[in-house]
Amino acid sequence: MINLLLRYINLMVVTITTLVIISFSLAYMFPGDTLTNISGIVPQSEEQRIALEAAFKLDRSIFVQFWYYVDNLVSGDWGVSFSSQISLLDEISIAFPATLELIIYALLISICIGIPIGFIGGIWHHKPFDFGVVTFSVVSYSFPVFWIALIFITIFCLQLGYLPLSGRVNYLYDIPHNSGFILWDILVADTPNKNDAFADALRHLILPTASIALVTTAIFIRFTRHSIMDEMRKGYIDAAKSRGFTTRQIFFKHGLRNSLLPIIPLMALQISTLMTNAMVVETIFSWPGIGNWLIQAIYQRDYPAIRIGMLVVSVFVVTFTITIEFISRAFDPARDKFERDAV
């Protein structure tokens, strides 16, 4: 067990160090002044330049510079955005929860819809309902997420006018920034029109969440269906049948649990797909999350922001993935190596 833990910690440290080295070297590889790329500040005078160089240790050897870079990262001193001159830590702590919120709701919806449907498909496989399920999942898995988002906008926003097409909540509701999760912030906010604001935020959430959830739901349906079909084919099920148990008894006593266990970590690992899709969808729905923020940074050639933004997103995905892998290995030692999904 400890051996396993050490192996995973080692994996995580090596990966994250590599990412930090890459982001550090980006400051040198991006066009322009290295000092500006690292600090986000364009020095206005020679004195300021010297002071900044001393502060970021640019006058020292590359290894010392890297050491201070890591030190700054850990202490939360990430430099300032080139375009807004606001601390990158502050900007990211506003943008990142918005993306997380989108991902979490999409994940919940996918679980609530994907697992039951995959279930039924798995039990009644090769029946008309199952063909319907398979067709639906293939079709929705094949839709590019940006395209489905645009179709949703065309239908629900522009043609029918039911739903808003941008942002998290109408700007007229002045919701103070608290946790960064809009629904939660509205609930704890001390504003008179809470219910209206909540409903408004929900209306803003529907389309972006649905666009992301569609693909993930399709993946979950296929996971569940596949896993159940596999499980129900196993020898112990036949043995149970020969002892006279009904299908229903076998399924709920053994099949369900055994088929769900292996797919839960697979689902958690969809976080990277969700993250990518969320970042695409954000730009379409002007959702003020990390994806939208990164795109703006790219447009404005805000190199410090691009560098830190990529680091934050990749560290998040890596940490999450490795942790889930570790947990699933720890609780299911029977598996030697991690099974890749079969979608």
Binding site: S83, S84, I86, C112, I113, P116, I117, I120, I123, I153, F156, C157, L158, G161, Y162, L163, P164, L165, S166, G167, N170, Y171, L172, Y173, D174, N193, D196, A197, A199, D200, L202, R203, I206, R248, F251, F252, S286, P288, Q296
Partner: protein, 543 residues
């Protein structure tokens, strides 16, 4: 529990969630808050909240008429100068001294970051003007120390002194008569700041907050701002005019023009800035939207770099002007949303000359003139096309491409050049271009605002004279026009200046574009302000 039971639970859960979505979704929401506020979708983030520091219309829109007032105001209908914070004014007989009587009982904004202890008075006027006028002023170098509007008009060297006579009377004396002086005080840029707030900030050691956390006397208080996202304002309850504006005002910053129009359609915006030419038809077709249109105070032109041979030769410039067909440019680039320009000043201004001669399209004469000037038939020049959309030129790149086909007919090969907007202007100011497609939007109704920044010698270093053309005769006329208050007399000077421009052709005026604004029908009281930024002081939402 049996399987059927389970699936029926699932079914009902799905049904429930769908009906919830439909319930939430059906019908545009009308709540207290959304009814009491107005959302304006603007096109970009302001550089600061002090229009003295920036000539861009985005900054002026976000601050000038919301947070601040000016001593004088333009009537948005006829361009006449009306009282603002100055209730009356007197001009001395020699036109050198202006005395302003100030309005009493005008309160500054009371916000979480500043509580005023006194009302507006003469100190605020002296502070606001001296900030950009006096180099040794403690606030002169704060936030960059550059005041482009006042610099381009050379107002620093016009004003001799700004003196406080008493608490509500200010006297401004000039070195030389300037008949556009009052108009300059009414522009978006001549805002009145709070001297008390400025002094408090200086004591706290955070003077630059004056330009980012603004305090003014205007109809709206600043609440909060996030770059590229929103600006929030709240109504100033003690505003000195009885206005009917909404309780809350929000600028939803949406740089993509198609997205702005989409938000107008879904009702997320009540009004949008700069709808693009392609979207105008969509807005016209919808019954719930109104498209406002006014002839704009702008001019799009093609300027030659007259400091560079062979463009220093008027014959060459005339020949190139003759080689292009303006009418087809108007149709293809402005899609008919502009009028043909013959001189600098559009018909919305009183100085417009309707009987002005125009340079026609005549490639044969053009080639003849080029031959006379000794231009070979394989001559190559570049046309710089600005990379951004402006009302006066919605698509400079397309215009440059069209022009290159016309110029090819007279044997001139064209290279089209473009950079990003900041570098483009920088390189233009250093004179790297042969010719450029650009334009000008005026800040006030005074014709001096066209003639002086665009073509006088003094405007070459400040970077608004893109032709880099310097003609003493022309400069004299522009100066003389300012020495008289009589607009008939001034008109004569400007018409003579038009003749010089026509003869010398430092630039080819192409079009005066219409100005557009798209508004939801529920909103009343938004008008196009040809003299500057958008105003929301008298805007109401019909219930």
């Amino acid at each position: 529990m049996n399987l059927n039971n389970q699936s029926s639970i699932i079914k009902s859960a799905i049904l429930l969630s769908f009906s919830l979505i439909l319930l939430l979704g059906c019908s545009k929401q009308k709540t207290q808050i959304t009814q009491a506020g107005i959302t304006f979708c603007s096109e970009g983030s302001p550089a600061s909240f002090n229009p003295q520091l920036d000539t861009s219309s985005t900054t002026a829109d976000a601050s000038s008429h919301q947070v601040y007032d000016r001593l004088l105001e333009f009537n948005t209908e006829n361009g006449e100068i009306e009282p603002g914070l100055a209730s009356s004014w007197l001009v001395s007989n020699d036109s050198l001294t202006y005395t302003f009587q100030l309005r009493k009982g005008v309160s500054f904004h009371d916000t979480p970051y500043f509580t005023p202890t006194r009302n507006f008075n003469a100190d605020d006027v002296v502070f606001s003007i001296d900030r950009w006028r006096v180099n040794s002023h403690p606030y002169h170098d704060i936030s960059g120390g550059s005041y482009p509007y006042f610099q381009s008009l050379g107002l620093k060297s016009t004003i001799k002194n700004v003196a406080r006579i008493n608490g509500y009377r200010v006297e401004i004396s000039l070195y030389k008569p300037d008949s556009s002086f009052l108009a300059n005080l009414a522009t978006d840029f001549s805002v009145i700041l709070s001297a008390e707030y400025a002094m408090n900030l200086l004591e706290d050691g955070s003077p630059s907050n004056l330009d980012t956390l603004p305090i003014g006397t205007g109809p709206y208080k600043f609440v909060s701002y996030r770059q590229d996202q929103f600006i929030r304002y709240k109504r100033h309850r003690d505003y000195f005019l009885n206005t009917t504006g909404p309780e809350n005002l929000v600028f939803d910053i949406t740089p993509k023009s198609s997205l702005r129009v989409a938000k107008l359609i879904t009702g997320e915006c009540d009004a949008v800035a700069f709808p693009s030419q392609n979207d105008l038809e969509i807005i016209r077709e919808r019954e719930d939207l109104t498209l406002l249109k006014k002839p704009g105070l702008n001019v799009g032109f093609w300027a030659f770099n007259t400091s560079k041979p062979p463009f220093d030769n008027p014959k060459v410039r005339r020949a190139l002007a003759l080689a292009i067909d303006k009418t087809s440019l108007l149709e293809a680039v402005y899609l008919g949303q502009a009028t043909r320009a013959k001189s600098l000043v559009p018909s919305a201004s009183w100085a417009h000359q309707s009987n002005m001669q125009d340079i026609g399209y005549n490639p044969v004469i053009a080639r003849k003139l080029l031959d006379e000037a000794g231009i070979p038939s394989d001559f190559t020049m570049n046309i710089w096309a600005m990379p951004v959309q402006r009302a006066y030129n919605p698509n400079a790149m397309k215009m440059a491409q069209l022009m290159s086909t016309y110029l090819a007919e007279v044997g001139v090969t064209v290279n089209i050049v473009s950079y990003d907007w900041a570098r483009f202007r920088e390189n233009l100011t250093s004179g790297m271009h042969d010719s450029v497609l650009i334009g000008w939007s005026a800040d006030n109704g005074d014709p001096d605002n066209f003639y002086r920044p665009l073509l006088t010698c003094a405007a070459i270093p400040s970077g608004t004279n893109r032709a880099r053309w310097c003609n003493p005769e022309y400069d004299n006329l522009i100066e003389s026009a300012l020495k008289t208050e009589d607009s008939n007399e001034r008109r004569i000077f400007y018409h003579r200046a038009n003749q010089i421009i026509f003869r010398e052709t430092p630039l080819v005026p192409i079009a005066h574009a219409f100005q557009y604004q798209a508004v939801n029908n529920q909103i009343e009281g938004i008008t196009i302000n040809p003299f500057g930024g958008i105003r929301f002081d008298d805007v109401v939402r019909k219930q």
